[in-house]
């Protein structure tokens, strides 16, 4: 349908503009402004941005016709035009970006408010808030971009803001290095993303999401995109593994915990790291064009989820536990993307934003109260010192563990069920006959489209991937419940292991921080109620049924509009029994995890030591994070430095020893060379230049001499 405010819904511009204004005001004048005004500027900018987001949402809903809501868009200005390359700064507000924008501005606002308490005593608070606003600005660009270029600018911008926030805070070398590592690893990912973008552009000639969607979802034109879908998809997915911390580029996220805790909550849990999931959902029509691509995403996602969860088990730093848990949960989201359930991915993105932000902020409250102590071995028994924080952390833990009636359960269950049941069917005109399509149909969907609505016979690799993803997912869910409750018990239960000095200072956090915790706790419970499992939603009364599956209906027009593919449940249309069994499995496994944690860290606190003694080697490997950092260092960093050294040496010495005169000259004239080193150098440089020229001439006239 035609959008109501075609191309001119300027509120979208205002959503983006507000944080930028806040950043400029605080960045340029913050040092001179009164301290309270800095808070007001930063939070005010966020509140206005949130308000404009709500206005846009209202407008979007109003223009809907019951079936669809379409989209709003706004073109700010023409950015580049250069013959073959045109791009404009334009924003797109559709159901998908609406979800992300509300999370960014809403959760962002809460974290800003929380920060006013957390950062109260910091002398350069203005700088912190300027960066934080700058981050939100970049993130909104990313979320609202109408074409890939705007998204990419936001994509780089969040990386930059994140670098500033991780690295600029403290002045010790480790944290600086952490910021730098995050930035460089992200740049590696960005480079793949850019490459994928270029290939896409030179194939179809546009970066506009709406135009691309029209191309990809039409069975007649999709053939154009099909040959590049795999390379483009893999490159963009590599970009996403950088930003969203997946294998192989996840290594920066745990180190990024060096930043202030609210930053970890906003950037490294709720918003920036989910950018990859958002992007893949945004261009879902490219990914679904190639089932192999989907399989890659699903497998990488599940492996990341499992690996990060196993590492999290042995971490003792409370923020590191949360960091690995974030990596693991992001793996869940990619799992959902990989099995074609984009709705589940966005759902989990949303609930995760709530409960992980809550967990981080609660952890921040603990760290604040304990005077920047992050080691859980020095905590314990904090329940009685910080009751509110304790309650908030418990709610967050219950949510992430997948306990029913808390938000995390709904989204995680949705993902696991999709992993088990989804079958991918592709339909592109003119491609069915080719050998490539043959492969898809035999391995993935023998019954093709005809079987819609019925149970499907799925054979071979596809079925293997389904089961693989499901089992890894269930396992990870159990591990998640275990390590999160381990952290909870270690922090809040048992004896307080802090020294007396710290103990006497432990205090509950100020109200600005608690308000944010309260709101997020509420959201972490009810946030899941817009996506009940179908077998439960079926028993809801008629009026409520629509809202019980609200998110699915809201996002349906974004994800199920393609003619080129279908994702079909292989258990038929209403497989309530199978769905119920899957849900029961995930609940039971969560219960097992929680029970185990209770047993090991509350009842029998000697058990961890015993187990540790039994499997020292495994523990060693896990606590060293599978030695991935070391491997990367050996594989990439060291060779680069070595090449650098060789080249430096070459630059300095190659002429003196080897090329000019050789050894005899050296021994004869060593004294004079040493005395007149400078003048000697010039002659050597000149010799070097002549030799370079001679080489060039030889290469041109006698190409053979080089080979």
């Amino acid at each position: 349908m035609e959008p109501l405010y075609s191309d001119s819904f300027y509120f979208l511009g205002l959503i983006v503009l507000m944080p930028l204004l806040g950043a400029i005001i605080n960045g340029l004048f913050g040092a001179k402004l009164p301290r309270n005004l800095v808070n007001w500027v930063a939070c005010g900018a966020m509140a206005l941005s949130f308000a404009f987001a709500l206005v846009s949402l209202q407008a979007l809903v109003n223009q809907g016709n019951g079936e669809e809501v379409g989209h709003l868009s706004y073109t700010a200005f023409q950015w580049i035009f250069s013959g073959s390359l045109n791009a404009e700064i334009a924003f797109l507000f559709d159901p998908l970006s609406a979800v992300l924008v509300l999370i960014i501005t809403g959760v962002g606002l809460l974290i800003h408010i929380y920060s006013t308490g957390y950062m109260a005593e910091d002398p350069s608070k203005w700088r912190y808030f300027a960066y934080l606003n700058l981050f939100v600005f970049a993130m909104l660009l990313l979320a609202l971009g109408k074409n890939m270029l705007v998204t990419f600018i936001g994509w780089e911008g969040v990386g930059m803001a994140s670098y500033l926030l991780i690295g600029f805070w403290y002045s010790d070398a480790d944290k600086a290095a952490a910021g730098q590592k995050a930035f460089i690893v992200n740049r590696v990912g960005d480079f793949f993303f850019l490459l994928g973008m270029f290939i896409l552009y030179f194939t179809v000639g546009t970066w506009d999401y709406l135009e691309l969607e029209a191309l990809a979802t039409n069975t007649a034109t999709a053939a154009l995109l099909l040959p590049v879908a795999l390379p483009v998809g893999v490159l963009i997915f590599l970009g996403c593994t950088g930003k969203s911390a997946q294998i192989p580029l996840y290594v920066w996220l745990p180190d990024a915990m060096a930043g202030p805790t609210p930053v970890s909550a906003l950037i490294h849990a709720a918003t920036m790291v989910t950018a990859g999931v958002f992007l893949l959902s945004r261009i879902n029509w490219i990914f679904t064009l190639d089932p192999n691509l989907m399989a890659i995403v699903a497998v990488v996602g599940s492996l990341t989820a499992l690996m990060a969860a196993t590492i999290a088990i042995v971490q003792t730093d409370i923020k590191k536990v949360l960091a690995y848990s974030t990596v693991s949960q992001l793996g869940f989201m990619f799992m959902a993307v990989g099995v074609g359930s984009f709705t589940a991915a966005v759902f989990h993105l949303m609930t995760h934003a709530f409960f992980k932000a809550l967990l981080f902020l609660a952890a921040g409250s603990v760290i604040h109260g304990m005077h920047h102590e992050q080691d859980m071995r020095k905590m314990g028994g904090l329940k009685k010192y910080m009751p509110w924080t304790h309650a908030a952390f418990l709610i967050g833990t219950l949510a992430i563990a997948g306990v029913p009636f808390f938000a995390g359960f709904y989204s995680k269950d949705f993902i696991l069920w999709s992993a088990l049941s989804n079958v991918h069917v592709l339909n592109v005109v003119g491609v069915l006959e080719t050998a490539q399509m043959e492969m898809f149909t035999t391995t993935l969907a023998p019954a093709v489209v005809a079987a819609e609505g019925h149970a499907l016979e799925v054979l071979g690799g596809a079925l293997f991937i389904n089961w693989f993803v499901f089992i890894v997912g269930v396992l990870t869910a159990g591990l998640t419940a275990f390590y999160m409750f381990r952290a909870y018990f270690m922090t809040f239960h048992g004896e307080c292991r802090a020294d007396e000095e710290t103990k006497s200072h432990i205090h509950e956090s100020p109200s600005a921080m608690l308000v944010a915790l309260l709101v997020l706790s509420f959201l972490s419970v009810v946030g899941g109620y817009i996506g009940w499992p179908h077998f439960i939603a079926a028993v809801f009364p008629k009026g409520l049924k629509y809202y019980a599956l609200g998110l699915e209906h809201w996002l349906a027009e974004v994800f199920v509009v393609s003619d080129t593919y279908r994702v079909i449940g292989r258990f038929g249309e209403h497989p309530y029994l199978a769905e119920g069994l899957a849900a029961a499995t995930s609940v039971i496994i969560a219960g097992v995890g929680i029970g185990l944690a209770y047993l090991m860290y509350v009842k029998r606190t000697d058990l961890p030591g015993v187990i540790h003694a039994r499997v020292t080697k495994l523990h060693y490997v896990l606590s060293n994070k599978y030695f991935v950092d070391e491997g990367y260092f050996a594989a990439f960093v060291r060779p680069t430095l070595l090449i650098g050294k060789v080249m430096t040496w070459f630059d300095k010495n190659i002429i003196s020893g080897l090329l000019v005169g050789g050894a005899a000259f050296m021994t004869q004239n060593l004294g004079r060379i040493l005395r007149n080193l400078q003048s000697g150098n010039v002659q050597r440089y000149a010799t070097y230049i002549s030799l370079a020229l001679a080489l060039v001439v030889l290469a041109i006239f006698y190409p053979g001499c080089l080979a």
């Binding site: 040092a31 200005f77 023409q78 950015w79 580049i80 035009f81 250069s82 013959g83 073959s84 990419f152 600018i153 780089e156 911008g157 990386g159 930059m160 670098y163 690295g167 600029f168 403290y170 002045s171 010790d172 070398a173 944290k175 600086a176 910021g179 730098q180 930035f183 460089i184 740049r187 590696v188 480079f191 850019l194 490459l195 270029f198 290939i199 030179f202 680069t640 430095l641 650098g644 050294k645 080249m647 430096t648 630059d651 400078q678 003048s679 150098n681 010039v682 440089y685 000149a686 070097y688 230049i689 370079a692 020229l693 080489l695 060039v696 001439v697 290469a699 041109i700 006239f701 190409p703």
Partner: protein, 547 residues
Amino acid sequence: MTMQLLSTLNTLAMLTPPQGAEFAAIVPGMIVTLVALAFILIDVFHRKGTPRDYLAYFSVIGLGVGAASSWYLWDGTLEAPTFFGMLYLDRFALFFSALACVSGALAILCSPAVLRSHRMDRGEYYLLVLFSVVGMIFMAASADLLSLFIAFEIMSIPIYVLAGFLREDSRSAEASMKYFVLGAFSAALMLYGIALIYGATGTTNLEMIAQNLYYLEGGEGQHAGFGLAMLGVLLIFSGFAFKVAAVPFHIWTPDVYTGSPTPVVGFMATAVKAIAFAGLLRVFVVAFPLDVLRGGFFGYGWIDIAFALAAFSMVLGNVVALLQNNVKRMLAYSSIAHAGYLLLGFTAANAHPRFFLHNDAILFYLVAYTFGTIGSFAVLSYFSRRGESVETFEDLGQLGIKYPMMGLVMGISIFSAAGIPPTAGFLGKFYIFRSAIDVGMQTDEFSFIGLAILGVLSSVAGVYYYLKVLIYMYMKPEKRAFRPLEHTGPKVAMVVCAVMTLYLGIFPARAIEITQESIIDFQGVSSAVQATLDLGQQALEARQAAE
């Protein structure tokens, strides 16, 4: 026979003065020359012991007028070369004269305080910058190898002197000496190349060289002459490669950058490089468009040389910069890397006549690079301690925290150099890589895409050493206290650089249009390139009509 006739005609032409309209071609150059001459007269009457700031501002205003005149002439360009086939008046030349003026003005703005802190407040400094700019302006406009070479030397000799201007500093003297000896050496090579070309073709006029080479290629038994021309092409290329500091002709760069006064380095790194690229484009596109000479895709011609030089420069520049402790040395290696990116753009855009329009990427990159680089050198030169400028990374300790505005400017410049949005540097790199990938995909030659990938990957390594600057400015403790040289000039330069870097990154549309117009108006090209230019002209007009 033809040649003789032409030379007779030429002699006749020499006796008649240029037409009135042709004088427009020398207007920007003349303005700057007159400013320089007036400067001498003013400086003669300068009262001893008083600061020379007003002279600096006078030169800046003069250069500003020079740049403005390019703007004024923008719509009055000429089709044919002027002044007996010596100079072009096209937008390409005007673009570079404006760029040279701006770069010179910004460098001058940074200078007074630095000179005073070294007790070298002499008028000659500004004079030399002005004369160098004159050389640059004429070099970008040259239509003849002779005028090109003279302009080349007018540009270079003042810079040799400027490099050694702090003559009490032994490193400055050393830098000057090295630069002079090697520069003279490379100029001699270039001159030899020009002589060979003259020997092979009997002319120094760029367009006539192209014509005569065409006949040479056509005639049988003339291969000896052709080989001579090829050797000449390579020698001329090496002269330019020396000036842009491309590997393996880069060897002087680190020493000279480290020793020279910081504002001079800013000028040297931006304007000289930009103008050398202008000359490179003009000479090779106009005089040597023959496929045999051009090569490409490893047919061994000048495109292949540029290709190899681009690859080496990007890798060596970025990797060696990783290990430097001296900021100026690091920036020297990074400028080698930038030369590599520019050569990448040059290679891609000139691989085939139909890609000629992609040269606008080089022009945009040069503008972005000019503002970013001068910005960072302005910050470096702003701090001093007993006559020493900031040099090592450790010297930067805490400066960003103590002087937030300087930190901000440095941050913007560094992010631009590293190619991170929304700065101009990002867009510059983006454009260059885009043209390389575009050419690679259109010709199905993977080598271009491979080179682009190499470029982007090496720029990832670049991020590391650029960020090191920021880390030291904000996070490392202060080792030695540096004080700012309180002066308005550098502040103005910094603000201009920072604002332009952001402006060009966020609202690049007008700048891109200007670079495109410059390329489309490029004079003296072969008919194949002219066809591309006409297409570009139509597209541009269509778009402007649409707006």
